[in-house]
Structure formats: C-alpha cells, structure tokens
C-alpha cells in the first residue's frame, strides 16, 4: 500500500507538472523537501539525545517498569504479544502519556526507544510486527488533552475563546483512537499474525 501511494504521489506529481508545463516548480520542491527532511532530522538530534539520556536514567531507577505495572491491564489488552514487564512497555506508556499532554518534543524520542525495543523482539527486521502496528496506530491519532500548538495559534489570531475547541478535540481523538484499535484488530486477523 505504501509502495503504491509513494509511487502515485511522486509519479503523479512529476507527470502532472509536465502536462501543466510547469516542471520547474516540482523540481524545486523535490530538492527543497529533501533538504528540509535532513534539516528537520538534524534539528531533532539534540532533543533526541537529551530525552533518551533522561529515559535511561528512569529505566535504571526502575521507574519505567513501575509505570508499565500501573497500566498493566490496559497494556496487556492492547499489546498481547509484549510482556508488561518489558522495557518496551514502559517506553510505550511514556510516549502515549507525553503525546496526550501535548509534549511532542519528548514524545518522539520515547516512542523511538519503544520501537527500538520492539524491533529487538521482531523476527523479521524488514517487516512491521503487530505490536508495532498497534503502537503506531495509537500514535497517529493519539488522545490529546492539550492541543498546545492550536491553542497558541488561536490566541495569536485574536480569538476571544482560544480553548473553545479543546473539548471536541479530545472527543475526536477518542473516536479516532477507538477506530484505530478496532481497525488494527481487524487487520491483524486479515493479514495474519506472521
């Protein structure tokens, strides 16, 4: 599916630009975006290094396993293939918690740590495991209590009630997460567990 979408975007974009007779714009965007991707990654490094350092302190202190224990029932329901005492469990719980609080900067490194651990449990390193899919399904629509960036933008735009959408944002993410969990379970069945 990704293969097809990627092909369609790139091939369709390039072809359309030729048909329209304005190929220069697309060529420029390709180079710009490639550069932007590298810059974005580089700008993430400091943040990533810092949070992974903090996380290993928390791991060494036994806090991550403790947190995983607290959320054990819901965790085992969502991730039947991962032990709730595994390092992955704590990192997953922390990542989702950071996302909910609108702490995007902290959430990504925590999530990457979780992926790293899930990859160690993966028999085929090229292929996503069911646990990875569930984790990312929850991540792509993570329940949000505080949409920090939107609040800032609404305030900047001079809104009289910048927090007006906080409630429905939360509800919408709950709906999206429920759909994600159900869809993930169905796909797991259809695609098989392998």
């Amino acid at each position: 599916m990704l293969d097809f979408i990627w092909f369609a975007f790139l091939f369709g974009g390039v072809t359309l630009s030729l048909i329209k007779g304005e190929p220069a714009a697309v060529t420029m965007v390709l180079l710009q975006e490639a550069e932007a991707a590298v810059k974005l990654t580089l700008s993430l490094i400091g943040n990533m290094v810092f949070w992974l350092g903090i996380l290993s302190i928390a791991e060494a202190a036994g806090l991550v396993t403790m947190l995983a224990q607290v959320f054990k029932p819901i965790f085992t329901f969502l991730f039947p293939t991962v032990s709730a005492t595994d390092t992955a469990a704590g990192a997953i719980v922390l990542n989702l918690a950071a996302n909910m609080l609108g702490l995007g900067n902290a959430a990504t490194p925590l999530g990457l740590r979780a992926m790293q651990r899930l990859q160690e449990l993966n028999p085929d390193p090229n292929k996503a495991t069911p646990a990875m899919c569930t984790f990312l399904a929850l991540n792509t629509c993570c329940i949000t209590f505080i949409p920090t960036a939107v609040l800032a933008a609404r305030t900047a735009a001079g809104s009289a009630k910048p927090a007006a959408t906080v409630g429905i944002t939360f509800l919408s993410t709950v709906v999206a997460s429920m759909v994600a969990v159900i869809a993930d379970r169905c796909c797991q069945q259809w695609w098989g567990r392998g």
């Binding site: 329209k20 810092f50 992974l52 806090l63 735009a157 007006a164």
Partner: protein
Amino acid sequence: MVLHLISLSDNVVPLFIGLILLIAKLRGVKVYEVFIQGATAGFELAVKMIPYLVAMLTAIGAARTSGLLELVLRPIQGPLAVVGFPPELLLMALTRPLSGSASFALMVDALQTYGPDSLLGLMASALQGATDTTFYILAVYFGSVGVKRFRYALLVGLLADAAGIMAAVLFARILWG
C-alpha cells in the same frame, strides 16, 4: 483557562525531569554515566531515519505542488458536502495526515480568513488537533529501526485520521451550528 492549560503543559517537563533525577539519585543510580550511555543512541537513531523522511517528504511535496491533491479532491467534494463537510476545509483535511506543517499553515489561513471564532475557524482548529501526521509518524518511527514493510499500519492510520476528522466536523456542527 488557556493559560492554565499551557502552564500545565509547561510545568510537566521540569517536574518530570526533577522527579526522575531525584528518585534515581536516591536509588544510587550513577546518573551522569547512565545519561551518556542512553543518549549516545539518539544520534544514530536520528541519522537512520533520514532516507525515510526524504522519501516521504519529497513525494508529498511533489503531490502538493503539482496540484495532484486538488485534482484528487474534486470528485469527492460533492459527496462530502452532502454529509456536512465544508468544501473550504477539504484541502486542509486531506493535507492533515500528509504534512503537519502544511495543514497547520492552512489552519492559520482559515483562522485569518474566517475568524478564529467563526464556525469554519473553530472547525479548522478542531480538525488540526483531531489527528496527527500519519505519514510522518510512520516514516520516522519505522525509519528509525529500518522497517520497510509497514503492512497494514498505513491503512489503520488513515482510517483513524478519517474518523477523527469527521468526528471533529460533526462535533463542531453540533456545538456551534
């Protein structure tokens, strides 16, 4: 209210770090050493995901700039308007899973054009918060560990995006007409 929410978010990070450090120290963890050990992995992780991110962002950029996205939108505009989806926000909704910064810019544009407290402005705000940038998340997370076959993760992510977006529009209609 807003200030409270933002300051809650602001306080969480220092509180969290302070608490971790304190408990680790009390339990006899060599904090500096452990920090360096864990932090070293960060660089490698970040560098590993560069090709994935370049692949994703260039393809999305080409689709956006060439007008391919608008072209795809045209046939679904009518049916979506029937179920109450405002055509003004359709491009933003479609952009949301592809590029967080692009859809954020479209939201700011909607806030300025229609006013932040108008129905469309409120809807745009709810929509932006309702889901996350699925393509980016999958590229970064799978990329950092070298997984190339995402299996059904993209399908599930996009279904959830669609659900979140439709829910945001529906809730906004219920609340503000």
